[in-house]
């Protein structure tokens, strides 16, 4: 085996494989790349506009919430799903189809499968864009789509993976370049995550109940949520970085060895970090600690990768100054470094105590989303579109304009949100010298508005840049002509012959770094195996005798709460801090959530926590809730909550009650046998009680309206133990 000194190009050696063996001619498929590129740009702009709209709803709630379809609670999932799965998703596939054919020196195994993949993915996006505004949602963040669409995603994912592995098998290049390893990890892990988190019991075609309840559901969701960030927004993009950054700079990656270490260490650590989303919650402590350790460790591989990316450009900084594509990529990699520094920090308990539930988290994800995913995608698009259309970029100047307003957009987005998050946390936590909470929650809401407005400006700049890019790329495509089938040549693959008499582990032993990595993995797995028996012994969720299943009306109300996406602004998880127990009541216990399919802990407190809305000092009259839902601003001056007046007109779908009760029974909720048949009687009784209570306050509303179910649910929240201190555990 030749040893080639790092840094030397040694062209003769490189060309040698091409002169051996029989040369074969084949064609790269660029049409599929073009399709995914177009989808990336279009959905990117759509998804960002949805985000901008949602951002501005927090500034002008009364004019921009167009209920029921485009209230914040339904629009936010539309935005997150669009940018993650439509923009970044198509971006991944674009870069993947371009690079994998070239890296493997072959066309894709099946053109048809590529087409099914493309159109299937777009159909799923359209289905999401229709069902989310209609309120069909599981309420699990970034996994909101209901079960029929989940199944479609699984099928399309299999098509994508099948085609990928078949292509790998027919390759003409023995070595799998590191980018391909990142794609493989993405495929495998996303498949597993998606399936586990989507486990649910359907009640109707567009409604299902999560298979897990409360704490367990939260854990599964954030195992998924975190790894979706890891394996959808990070690993595939690292694959793209390792391909397109060297290509755009026309120089090899700084250290190929480091990239391999980056890959293997990252994937083994990432999957254990999920619990950092649930610090100080009712999740068992050991699971929280496990999450923290792994989250913190993540900084090492992540920074290894960032440094590897940036050092690829060593000695080429003059090129970066001139080449707008490299500029985009440098900012992207820098943002990756910032986000992966911040992530481990936010996993530390004392920092998380401040940042969690605030806009700090929003700032964090947007440094990653806008900077890392957005800018890397833009860089790749500017590089790749002229190439497959065999022309120059239409306007370098416009691309530069895009770069600058995009960068400004990120700054105008992130900086106000960091300040806002920090101020929010501090206002929530401050006490007066006499020991009272210093600020009403509403004070913190109105304080945020200027920051939300500035963030909106940042978002608008960023979208404007993307629209300029859309125009620029359109013009580029028009002035060129798509090279749909690009001819290429390569020798057929030769059989691999192992070095004589050498066993692989001796090879590993001679190479200390892979050895180290392998050892680390063995230790990690060993550690986890040791832990399992400890937890199998007994269930960690203590049952609380006073916690009872929801009444049918409350259950229906809860489903409306899920449908309207109230969880996008309201948490239901009181952490054990004095500032929270003073404001919201007794801190939340794991045992309180055993009937919560799905859990509704939320991740953001744009509005106050509702875990004990029906208990103690928080309890309000039915009339208050009715008026507040009808017109929040009339009750709470300066509120940014959308109006839910349509709930007053909408009739409750009582036909679904028996099916829902049955599904709950299947999930183990102890309703009496045959209760499903009487459930609606019970439901009407409770609704009539609330209606007649409202009547006493001159509010005439028929008992069959959705608003009554929501009120019933809100009044129930936290009452199981909140009203009954003696029932509390420990």
């Amino acid at each position: 085996m030749e040893t080639i000194k790092q840094g030397s190009f040694a062209k003769e050696v490189l060309q040698r494989p091409h002169t051996e063996g029989r040369r074969e001619t084949f064609y790269y498929d660029n049409a599929i790349v073009r399709n995914f590129a177009a989808a990336t740009v279009i959905w990117g702009v759509v998804g960002m506009l949805a985000g901008l709209w949602a951002a501005l709803q927090l500034v002008l709630p009364e004019s921009l919430n167009i209920g029921p379809w485009f209230n914040f609670g339904r629009l936010r999932p539309l935005h997150t799903n669009a940018v993650i799965f439509a923009f970044v998703g198509n971006g991944i596939f674009m870069g993947y189809y371009y690079s994998i054919q070239r890296l493997l020196k072959t066309r894709m195994w099946s053109d048809l499968m590529g087409k099914i993949h493309f159109w299937g993915w777009q159909a799923i996006i359209v289905a999401a864009a229709i069902t989310l505004p209609l309120g069909f949602t599981t309420s699990k963040e970034y996994a909101e789509l209901e079960w029929p669409i989940d199944i479609a995603i699984t099928l399309i994912w299999v098509v994508f993976g099948w085609n990928m592995f078949a292509t790998i098998l027919k390759r003409r290049e023995r070595h799998l370049y590191v980018a391909i390893w990142f794609y493989i990890a993405t495929f495998v892990t996303v498949a597993v995550l998606h399936i586990v988190n989507s486990l649910a019991i359907p009640v109707s075609f567009f409604k299902s109940y999560s298979a897990f309840a409360g704490v367990q559901d939260a854990l599964v969701q954030w195992w998924y949520g975190h790894n979706a960030v890891a394996f959808f927004l990070t690993t595939p993009y690292l694959g793209l970085m390792y391909y397109f950054l060297p290509k755009a700079a026309n120089r090899p990656v700084y250290s190929y060895k480091l990239s391999i270490i980056h890959f293997w260490s990252l994937i083994f650590i990432y999957i254990w970090a999920g619990p950092h989303h649930l610090l100080y919650t009712a999740l068992p402590n050991w699971a929280q600690s496990l999450g923290i350790v792994f989250s913190f460790t993540l900084i090492f591989p992540s920074w290894g990768g960032m440094i590897n990316g940036l050092l690829t450009l060593r000695g080429a900084w003059d090129k970066v100054r001139e080449d707008v594509i490299l500029k985009f990529m440098v900012v992207a990699v820098t943002c990756y470094g910032m986000a992966t520094f911040e992530g481990p920090m936010l996993s530390l308990k004392n920092i998380n105590a401040i940042s969690h539930f605030t806009d700090w988290t929003i700032a964090h994800v947007h440094v990653g989303g806008l900077g890392w995913n957005g800018f890397l995608t833009f860089g790749i698009l500017y590089w790749l579109v002229p190439k497959i259309f065999r022309t120059e970029l239409y306007s370098k100047k416009l691309a530069n304009v895009h770069f600058w307003i995009g960068t400004l957009g990120i700054l105008f987005y992130a900086i106000p949100m960091y300040i806002a998050g920090f101020m929010q946390a501090s206002m929530w936590k401050q006490f007066t010298p006499s020991g009272q909470l210093k600020y009403q929650f509403l004070d913190t809401v109105t304080f945020m508005k200027p920051f939300y407005a500035t963030r909106g400006l940042g978002g608008a700049l960023f979208v404007a840049g993307a629209i300029i890019m859309m125009y620029n790329l359109w013009k580029t495509a028009k002035q060129g002509k798509l090279l749909a089938n690009e001819q290429a040549e390569a020798p057929a693959l030769e059989k691999y012959t192992a070095h004589k008499g050498e066993h692989w582990h001796r090879w590993v032993e001679r190479k200390p770094t892979p050895m180290l990595v392998a050892t680390l993995i063995v230790i990690l797995i060993g550690g986890a195996v040791e832990m399992i028996p400890t937890f199998l012994v007994k269930s960690n969720v203590p049952t609380i005798a006073s916690v009872k299943p929801y009444t049918p009306l409350e259950l229906q109300g809860r489903d409306i709460y899920v449908r309207e996406g109230c969880y996008t602004c309201h948490s239901q998880m009181i952490r054990p801090f004095r500032s929270e127990t003073e404001r919201y009541g007794e801190y939340s216990k794991a045992g309180e959530f055993v009937y919560d399919f799905p859990f509704q802990w939320g991740s953001k407190r744009t509005g106050p926590d509702l875990a004990r809305e029906g208990a103690g000092n928080n309890r309000k009259s039915n009339t208050w809730h009715y008026n507040h839902l009808d017109d929040p601003q009339a009750i709470s001056t300066g509120s940014i909550m959308p109006a839910y007046s349509f709930l007053i007109d909408a009739r409750l779908d009582t036909a679904s009650t028996p099916g829902k009760i049955k599904a709950m029974q299947t999930l183990g909720v102890p309703y009496a046998k045959g209760f499903e048949l009487e459930a609606n009687k019970d439901l009407m009784k409770q609704a009539n009680e609330i209606a007649s209570d409202l009547k006493k306050n001159n509010i005439n509303v028929p008992a069959d309206r959705e608003v009554l179910a929501v009120i019933a649910y809100l009044q129930r929240l936290g009452t199981d133990i909140g009203n009954n201190k003696t029932a509390q555990l420990k």
Binding site: A10, E486, W507, I521, A528, F535
Partner: protein, 54 residues
């Protein structure tokens, strides 16, 4: 916490799978050469699209 057990087992299967893949790829000589691939990937354009090459 049965969900925890499910997650740990699933995560371990994934991690174990990758470990197997890692060992397999080392055995197959994937990492025998940890430099050339990084340079070779720079020369992968098709022959009909080489006009952009340096």
């Amino acid at each position: 916490m049965s969900a925890l057990v499910v997650l740990i087992v699933v995560s371990m299967i994934v991690a174990g799978g990758f470990l197997g893949l890692f060992i397999f790829s080392v055995k197959k000589g994937q990492y025998d050469d940890d430099y050339t691939p990084s340079v070779r990937m720079l020369f992968d354009d098709g022959v009909t699209n080489t006009d952009k090459q340096p």
